[in-house]
C-alpha cells in the first residue's frame, strides 16, 4: 500500500464523512461550514486524478465565491440564526427520513451495479488509450494543454458559457434587487 493510496483514502473519507455530517446535523450553520471541508477534500481528489488546474479552480470558485454567497443568503434570510447555535446536545443529529434514505440508497445501489457492469472489462476507448499510451502523466504540463485546447478545439463552448454566465449574473442581480416603486 503506497503513500498516494493512503492519502487518497484519507481525502475520500474526509469528503464522504463531512458530506454525511452535512445531511445529518440539525444545525444549518454547521452544515454550511462543513460544506467547506467537503469541497476542499473534493479538490484534493481532483489532484489525485491529475487535474491540478481543476482543483485550483474548484478552491477559488467554490470556496471563494459560492460559499460566501451562500452564507450571505443564509444570514439575510434567517433571523433566528444565533439562537439556533446555542442549543444543547440532544438535538444535534436529525433522524434520517426513511423515504429519502430508501431512494438514495436505492440509487446508490443502481450506480454501483452499473459500475460493476462497466468494469467487467475496460471500456473500449479506455483500453485503446492504455494501448496507445495516451494517458495523462504525472509530469505533463496540464495547464498548457488545457489552455491550448480551450482556445482552439473548445472555443465555441467557451464563448457560449461566457455569455451564459453573464446572462445568469444579470438575472440574479435583477431578481435580488429591492422592489422600488417607479417614480
Amino acid at each position: 500500500m503506497n503513500l498516494a493510496l493512503v492519502l487518497f483514502y484519507l481525502l475520500a473519507i474526509t469528503a464522504v464523512g463531512s458530506a454525511l455530517l452535512i445531511v445529518l446535523l440539525q444545525n444549518l450553520v454547521r452544515s454550511l461550514f462543513l460544506f467547506f471541508v467537503t469541497l476542499f477534500a473534493i479538490a484534493g481528489l481532483y489532484i489525485f486524478a491529475l487535474a491540478d488546474f481543476v482543483a485550483i479552480t474548484q478552491v477559488i470558485v467554490y470556496v471563494g465565491g459560492v460559499l460566501v454567497l451562500m452564507l450571505f443568503a443564509f444570514m439575510l434570510s434567517n433571523r433566528t440564526l444565533l439562537s439556533d447555535v446555542k442549543q444543547g446536545l440532544k438535538s444535534v443529529f436529525a433522524f434520517p427520513k426513511w423515504q429519502a434514505t430508501l431512494i438514495a440508497t436505492g440509487f446508490f445501489a443502481v450506480l454501483i451495479y452499473i459500475m460493476q457492469l462497466i468494469f467487467a472489462q475496460d471500456p473500449e476507448w479506455i483500453a485503446q488509450a492504455k494501448l496507445q499510451h495516451q494517458l495523462i502523466g504525472v509530469n505533463d504540463n496540464t495547464v498548457r494543454y488545457i489552455g491550448v485546447n480551450m482556445m482552439s478545439l473548445y472555443v465555441l463552448p467557451f464563448e457560449v458559457i461566457s455569455i451564459f454566465l453573464m446572462m445568469a449574473l444579470m438575472g440574479a442581480a435583477h431578481l435580488a434587487r429591492k422592489e422600488e416603486p417607479l417614480s
Binding site: L28, T38, V54, Q134, I146
Partner: protein, 101 residues
C-alpha cells in the same frame, strides 16, 4: 496510480448523499447544497475519466465548464431564495404552495 473504480465509488456515495439532501431537507439553502454535492460528484467522474484522454483533455475542460455552470446556478438560485423569503417569510419548500397570486 489510483484505480478508476475508487473515484467512481466515492462520487457515487457523494451523489447519493446529495440526493438525500435534496429529498429530505426542510431548508431551501440546504437543498441547494445537495444539488451542489451532486454536481461535484459528476465533475469528479468527468475528471477521473479524463485521465485517459491525454490528447484533447475533454474531461478536465468539461469539468471546468461544470464548475462555471454550478456557480451561475448558485447565483440565480440564491436570488430566487431571497425573493421567496421576502414574499413568504420562510424558506421551507413545503410552505411555498401557491404560484403568483
Amino acid at each position: 496510480m489510483i484505480p478508476l473504480s475508487h473515484f467512481l465509488t466515492v462520487s457515487a456515495i457523494l451523489f447519493s448523499i446529495g440526493l438525500y439532501a435534496v429529498l429530505s431537507k426542510k431548508n431551501a439553502i440546504l437543498v441547494l447544497v445537495g444539488v451542489e454535492l451532486m454536481i461535484n460528484a459528476a465533475a469528479l467522474n468527468l475528471v477521473a475519466f479524463g485521465r485517459y484522454d491525454g490528447k484533447q483533455y475533454e474531461g478536465q475542460i468539461f469539468a471546468l465548464f461544470v464548475i462555471v455552470l454550478a456557480a451561475a446556478a448558485v447565483a440565480v438560485a440564491l436570488a430566487i431564495i431571497l425573493s421567496v423569503y421576502n414574499h413568504y417569510k420562510s424558506i421551507n419548500p413545503d410552505d411555498i404552495n401557491n404560484l403568483k397570486d
